[in-house]
């Protein structure tokens, strides 16, 4: 196994700006290493290394054409990584926004109260 967890490899691969740029380019269609290297101030072998990382993460595959071996995006691996982020993020965002509103209410309740504020941790032991 290349990585303890396939998704770790995906996230690690996406952490690098050059690799993200390569992915962005490939969303427009397949491209050869030479074509991918063009916009970057980088040697072809350096770009090849980045592509290898993307390949190992399952984000990119190489075509059979012996000469060009075009790179193409593997949308499934990408969707796995991005959908989870979106899904979890949306859930927590929604929850925490509700919590923000609740905390505002709790702060407002506490503010005008002249009576001694109640402590929170009733019944809590270490």
């Amino acid at each position: 196994m290349l990585s303890s967890s396939p998704l770790d490899a995906t996230f690690a691969a996406l952490a690098d700006p050059t690799r993200r740029a390569i992915i962005a380019r490939l969303t427009q269609g397949e491209a050869s290493v030479m074509e991918l290297a063009r916009p970057f101030d980088m040697s072809q072998p350096a770009i090849s290394k980045h592509i290898k990382v993307l390949e190992q993460a399952g984000l990119v595959s190489r075509g059979q054409d012996a000469q060009r071996r075009p790179c193409r995006l593997e949308p499934r691996a990408l969707a796995e990584a991005t959908s989870w982020l979106e899904h979890q993020r949306a859930l927590f965002e929604a929850r925490f926004q509700r919590l923000d509103a609740l905390l505002e209410e709790m702060k407002a309740e506490r503010r005008p109260a002249k009576r001694p504020t109640k402590t929170t941790s009733k019944g809590v032991r270490r």
């Binding site: 303890s4 967890s5 396939p6 998704l7 770790d8 996230f11 996406l14 993200r20 740029a21 992915i23 962005a24 969303t27 949308p75 499934r76 990408l78 969707a79 796995e80 990584a81 991005t82 959908s83 989870w84 982020l85 979106e86 899904h87 979890q88 993020r89 949306a90 859930l91 927590f92 965002e93 929604a94 929850r95 925490f96 926004q97 509700r98 919590l99 923000d100 509103a101 609740l102 905390l103 505002e104 709790m106 702060k107 506490r110 402590t119 929170t120 941790s121 019944g123 809590v124 032991r125 270490r126």
Partner: protein
């Protein structure tokens, strides 16, 4: 009111970390996380879900139970937890398991509350029993994700 940014992502093989700051003192935030009548008001799913049952016995070995139902009458969801460590209002360690279980065993959740300049940073580290279990959870939103295709990619690439 502008929202505080949410940090969320995998860490190592088995963890998922969620971090967010709240504009409130720590004791209030801790209360909102541990008092059932307060938890019921925010720890919900998407719109249309409610939490009719929430019980929390906040002491080491104590149990928590959270039951969600959907207005549409579809199947609900239950989460059972056992508290392992409580340092109010700083830290809670608990295990949790969904009914039906889809994470291959108990997950361990460590929640820390750190107060700084009147704000509270909440950091939850969710540790899955296995790397496979975590990744299964990570992939649980896949169906939805496939449908929306590349739109979402833009956000990731911009980060």
């Amino acid at each position: 009111m502008s929202r505080n940014p949410l940090k969320l992502g995998p860490q190592g093989d088995r963890d998922v970390v969620v971090e967010r700051s709240f504009d409130a003192p720590r004791d209030l935030v801790f209360e909102a996380f541990t008092k059932p009548e307060l938890v019921k008001r925010w720890m919900l799913g998407p719109d249309g879900w409610s939490m009719p049952v929430c019980t929390i016995d906040l002491r080491p070995g104590g149990k928590g139970r959270y039951e969600w139902t959907s207005d549409s009458g579809g199947p609900g969801m239950t989460l059972n937890s056992t508290f392992k460590e409580i340092i109010a209002p700083e830290r809670i360690v608990h295990t949790e398991r969904f009914e039906p279980d889809w994470t291959q065993g108990d997950t361990i959740v460590t929640t820390t509350f750190t107060e700084k300049d009147g704000k509270t940073i909440v950091r939850m580290t969710i540790t899955y029993p296995t790397a496979e279990g975590r990744d299964m959870v990570l992939k649980s939103g896949m169906e939805q994700g496939m449908a929306r295709g590349y739109e979402r990619l833009d956000d990731i690439l911009k980060r």
